[in-house]
């Protein structure tokens, strides 16, 4: 008989528990298994020859010397690939977009520093590099375009894209021009949203192998979207999708950069088939900086109309979005739907007039990076609020109080916020940081010649975009659903499969919390499986802070299906009407029976696996699949407040206090949610204070190595006072809203507003990110010079 503990706490709700991550012990022991750890028998290695020029015609490619290097297996170029030099297609095309041709390997022309020209396969990685160095390419250098603001005035990069303008996007509500005429004040300013390099600790890596017995290819790939990647690769190569399997082992960070289709993913598959050997490709850090797609890179021209009391009336936003040299996967959706749609932030507006120009340049393609449009949007809204407050000499807190959205549901741009705590988050954050205290401190500091500043940032975003039927309306060629599959083994233990794909989020823990709670079984009895397209039947993946909201809801419903079937089996075993059977704490009981006749979940699992006693029409076993399609998107929100002190002599910023109040609805695991805030804020500090890709006029990336490109380190990160409000969403059954991107959205405006507040004594209105010490010092000198010449 079963040894069930009928009196003990064999079950409880795990939702809201800060359970330690079950995946951590193997990482902490150094036993993580990443793609680059995989070694297959007779595996060859590869390297990519990349363009050193931003824009050049390829006159000739001489492979002779390279092919003579001992150990070289073969080299692919555009010429040797024909007729299989396929085109990479974007997955999200908002409106009418002129898509420039993006070949797997450059034909005739290279279009950015990093553009792939040749794919070298050799017995070792070092030989591949030696052969790469022996390839001679003759170029005819062409003028390069790097800046989005002037890209339209330059000669065209592609014959099919006039003015280098791939497309435009407009979003209007109300009559901005009429409102503008009636407003007391109008302010104009320009913001630069700095280009960033996503730096997951694990760069991209691939191993492809083809089984000659069935002609089936397996690709090991650190992807955020295994099933989408599989579809894209099969579609691009015209391979039958049932002959392709993608496996994602441990993934060391993604931040959006591991959800785009890259040429290497296709080249490694082609090469594995052609050379009949498993082939590995691993990008180095420096290579990653010129080949893994960048983020942000906007110039934003803003006009805001408002009244004497600080009431916002209307906003006009014109975004020049730098797409880089090719249109990457989601690139056209980020500055348009994801940014322009949120440019008014958490505030009421009577009218909004928005336009995005999507511009091609000779730079690394730009795509989704943690926040993906929402950081660019929150930056617009929050700088607007501070500029308005400054102009009217009002407190930025009061101006936010006046304008913040308080009523839900609320439709803004393309989104509907079903619920939110916009004003409560603002109020709570101000209390937590002790806003009044810091305003007093600021006044005192100023009289001592010290520069203290306080910056507030409200944000909202949209996570778990759906339903699926909505996606094609904005040109998105994918669904908004997520899958869940539960298999209850004969002993009652559970395998849970999800189409989500963690890159560090802790899904093995958080999904087990949901499944264990809904099945009323111990957390330890649930194993979470993901990252194998032959094992997980269908899925979308992990991005857009969607896993708990969408995948978690799939898990919830899937568990309900299991509970429903087990109940019917239990009813049969107890000879009761199923309507009289209840399930709690791992036991089924019937109101028709005396206490003591309960049947355990384990017993039902055992019976189901034998198939001996089943209700009519039920099949043996306990395995259910549920694909959840959200009824609407969820809209988390929050308020971050930063207090900074600036050293006027050096321009160095010290973060004195940082408060994050976030509302992601129901939190499955608050510790993991807080971890997401910490990481997001750190990356927000990176954008606000440290990181920027700068191109020279001829398209060379300056500061391209980590010796020059500054990532946030522990020493840059303050103590983060993080807390949560909970306004569950009604758009999914568990009420979860999404938390993964919140920190990177909330932090940059809080920090920039704080720094600009500190520098307001010099009459400085704005400094572009990143707020490096030299940039701050120069702004102070310039302001002093202007002041002095008055």
């Amino acid at each position: 008989m079963m040894n069930d503990n009928r009196n003990g706490s064999s079950h409880r709700s795990y939702i809201g528990d800060s359970i330690l991550r079950t995946e951590d012990p193997h990482f902490l022991r150094g036993e993580g298994r990443y793609v680059d750890n995989i070694k297959l028998p007779s595996m060859a290695y590869s390297a990519v020859l990349r363009s050193p020029h931003a824009h050049a015609r390829i006159v000739s490619i001489d492979l002779k010397g390279a092919l003579e290097v001992p150990g070289v297996v073969g080299i692919l170029t555009a010429a040797s690939l024909e007729p299989d030099n396929f085109l990479i297609q974007p997955n999200w095309l908002v409106g009418d977009i002129n898509v420039p041709p993006h070949y797997l390997l450059a034909r005739e022309k290279v279009n950015y520093v990093g553009d792939a020209i040749a794919f070298i396969v050799a017995d070792t990685r070092a030989i591949a590099e030696d052969a790469k160095a022996a390839i001679h390419v003759e170029y005819e250098i062409l003028a390069a375009i790097t800046d989005e603001r002037t890209a339209m005035d330059k000669s065209e990069i592609y014959a099919n894209v006039d003015d280098n303008l791939a497309g435009t996007f407009n979003l209007n509500s109300g009559d901005y021009d009429a409102i503008k005429d009636d407003a007391d004040h109008i302010l104009n300013f320009t913001l630069k949203n700095n280009r960033l390099i996503p730096n997951p600790i694990e760069p991209r890596a691939l191993v492809a192998t083809v089984d000659s017995s069935n002609d089936k290819a397996t690709l090991y790939i650190p992807t955020q979207v295994p099933h989408l990647h599989k579809r894209w690769i099969a579609e691009t190569l015209n391979w039958p999708e049932n002959k392709l399997r993608l496996i994602s082992p441990d993934v060391g960070g993604g931040f959006g950069a591991k959800m785009h289709l890259y040429v290497e993913e296709l080249l490694v598959c082609i090469a594995a088939k052609k050379f009949r050997r498993p082939i590995k490709w691993t990008e180095t850090r420096s290579e990653s900086h010129v080949s893994t797609h960048h983020g942000r890179a906007h110039t934003q021209e803003i006009e805001v109309a408002f009244n004497n009391n600080g009431l916002l009336l209307g906003m006009s936003v014109h975004i020049y979005a730098n797409l880089g040299a090719y249109i990457s996967n989601m690139a056209t959706g980020i500055p348009t739907v994801n940014c322009l749609g949120f440019a008014s932030g958490t505030y009421n507006l009577t009218a909004f007039k928005g336009r995005v120009d999507l511009l091609l340049t000779n730079t690394v393609p730009v795509d989704a990076y943690r926040g993906a449009g929402r950081p660019e949007a929150a930056f617009i809204a929050e700088r607007v609020l501070d500029r308005v407050a400054r102009y009217l000499k009002l407190d930025p807190y009061d101006v936010r109080e006046l304008n913040v959205i308080r009523e839900f549901p609320k439709k803004v741009g393309l989104s509907e916020f079903d619920s939110g705590s916009f004003s409560a988050a603002l109020k709570t954050a101000a209390e937590k940081v002790d806003y009044k205290h810091w305003r007093d401190q600021q006044a005192k500091a100023r009289s001592d010649g010290r520069l203290l500043g306080i910056g507030i940032s409200n944000y909202t975003e949209v996570c778990g975009v759906g339903p699926s039927w909505l996606m094609p309306l904005v040109g998105f060629d994918r669904g908004g659903y997520e899958s869940a599959q539960i298999r209850v083994h004969p002993d009652g233990k559970v395998t849970f499969r999800t189409g989500s794909m963690p890159q560090g989020q802790g899904h093995a823990t958080s999904y087990a919390q949901i499944v264990a709670t809904e099945l009323c079984i111990p957390f330890e009895h649930v194993e979470v499986v993901y990252g194998d397209t032959d094992v997980v039947p269908i899925g979308i993946g992990t991005y857009n802070s969607r896993s708990m909201a969408v995948g978690g809801s799939a898990a919830f419903h899937c568990a309900q299906k299991i509970v429903s079937k087990t109940k019917s089996i239990a009813a049969l075993l107890m000879k009761s009407d199923v309507a009289n059977v209840t399930y709690a704490n791992g036991f089924f009981c019937s109101s028709e029976l005396e206490p003591g006749n309960e049947i355990s979940f384990v017993e039902v699992a055992r019976v189901a696996s034998r198939g001996h006693t089943l209700p009519p029409g039920e099949s043996p076993g306990l395995e259910e699949t549920y694909i959840y399609d959200p009824t609407g998107m969820s809209s988390p929100n929050g308020c971050h407040i930063a207090v900074v002190e600036i050293d006027p002599e050096t321009g160095v910023i010290d973060i004195l206090s940082y408060v994050a109040v976030d509302d992601a609805g129901t939190l499955i695991n608050p510790m993991l949610a807080e971890g997401q805030i910490h990481g997001g804020v750190a990356q927000g500090i990176g954008q606000a204070m440290l990181e920027e890709v700068v191109y020279s006029d001829d398209g060379q990336m300056l500061a391209s190595s980590l010796l020059e490109y500054a990532l946030p380190k522990a020493t840059n990160t303050p103590m983060i006072n993080s807390s949560f409000l909970s306004t569950p969403t009604s758009t999914n059954p568990i009420g979860a809203k999404g938390i993964g991107e919140a920190g990177s959205i909330g932090a940059p405006p809080a920090l920039v507003n704080a720094a600009c507040d500190a520098l307001s004594v010099f009459g400085i209105d704005h400094i572009d990110m990143p707020l490096t010490p030299p940039r701050i010092w120069h702004a102070i000198q310039e302001a002093k010079n202007i002041g002095g010449s008055k």
């Binding site: 390297a47 990685r125 070092a126 591949a128 590099e129 030696d130 160095a133 180095t284 420096s286 290579e287 002599e649 050096t650 160095v652 440290l690 700068v694 300056l702 500061a703 190595s705 980590l706 010796l707 020059e708 490109y709 500054a710 990532l711 840059n716 490096t772 010490p773 030299p774 010092w777 120069h778 000198q781």
Partner: protein, 288 residues
């Protein structure tokens, strides 16, 4: 990236190392901590033919106190200099300098000898050794020679080390006269290298500055002694010295480094602020 093929030898015998170095077509690159060398090899900006690992040569390691000097072996790593309390009792500046070099891993591998052999424009140790007027001991098969740290860098911003020579040790004086020090550094946020770092030594008698030395790094093509500033400070009254107004002398007649992060005017300004801070700390210590 992946380095080119390179040959590797290791010896724990100093005479063997010197013999290998003395061979006419040796083309040897010495490997100690490797923290300047390996990154450049990975990027293939440096493609040595033969590495000679000198980390296990006993004569090159350790910190030894003598009657009039302290001998620091060339392969002493930054973290040993960060942790040696006996050394800090006399020259706390070693702790100040070491703790702002790189990170823990870099400090555990990188060596003082390797760092002065590379002589990067941002080298902190050389500035420190310049104010100490340290003696750098070199050996080759031909014999031994000693170079003052202030004569280490040539006019072309290179150093005097010949290809057949090993840096054996660095000898600094004992601090027997209560000399105080000051150090201030503003680091680049990515590399950790100084945008400007200044190290000072001073002592005073009856409120007069009787001894002062200042050196800077990260500011020009190589670390340098600020002799003009030293001359302006000597014999001043400690309490009446306006370091803020004199600090600009640090970079008079110096060609300032410029890069995409910090341009000339900013770096010149930082040189002055770090000078002022280093001197203030140093003078404060003297007043105590």
């Amino acid at each position: 990236m992946i380095p080119q093929k390179v040959n590797f030898q290791k010896t724990s015998d100093i005479n063997n190392a010197l013999e290998i170095l003395s061979q006419p077509d040796a083309k040897i690159t010495l490997l100690a901590g490797g923290h300047s060398l390996i990154p450049r090899m990975k990027l293939r900006t440096l493609t040595p033919e033969m590495l000679l690992d000198i980390t296990s040569i006993p004569e090159l390691s350790g910190i030894e106190f003598k009657q009039h000097s302290i001998r620091i072996g060339a392969t002493t790593c930054h973290s040993e200099l960060l942790q040696d309390r006996e050394l800090h009792r006399e020259w706390p500046v070693f702790r100040e300098v070491a703790k702002k070099i790189g990170d823990v891993q870099v400090r555990n591998r990188g060596t003082i000898g390797g760092s002065i052999a590379c002589s990067a424009p941002t080298n902190e140790w050389l500035a420190c050794l310049m104010v100490l007027e340290a003696k750098i001991e070199l050996r080759s098969q031909k014999g031994r020679r000693v170079v003052n740290a202030n004569e280490w860098i040539t006019n072309h911003s290179e150093n005097v080390l010949n290809s057949d020579e090993l840096i054996v040790a660095i000898e600094i004086p004992r601090n027997l006269t209560n000399i105080k020090s000051g150090y201030a550094k503003l680091s680049h946020p990515a590399s950790g290298a100084p945008i400007g770092a200044v190290v000072t030594l001073a002592s005073a008698q009856s409120g007069l500055i009787t001894f002062v030395r200042v050196a800077a790094t990260g500011i020009s093509s190589s670390p340098f002694r600020a002799t003009q500033l030293e001359a302006a400070l000597i014999d001043n009254r400690l309490t009446e010295t306006d370091v803020t107004s004199l600090a600009h002398l640090i970079s008079e007649d110096v060609i300032i480094l410029e890069d995409s992060y910090a341009n000339g005017p900013y770096r010149r300004h930082i040189a002055a602020t770090q000078t002022s801070r280093a001197l203030t700390n140093c003078f404060k210590a003297l007043e105590e």
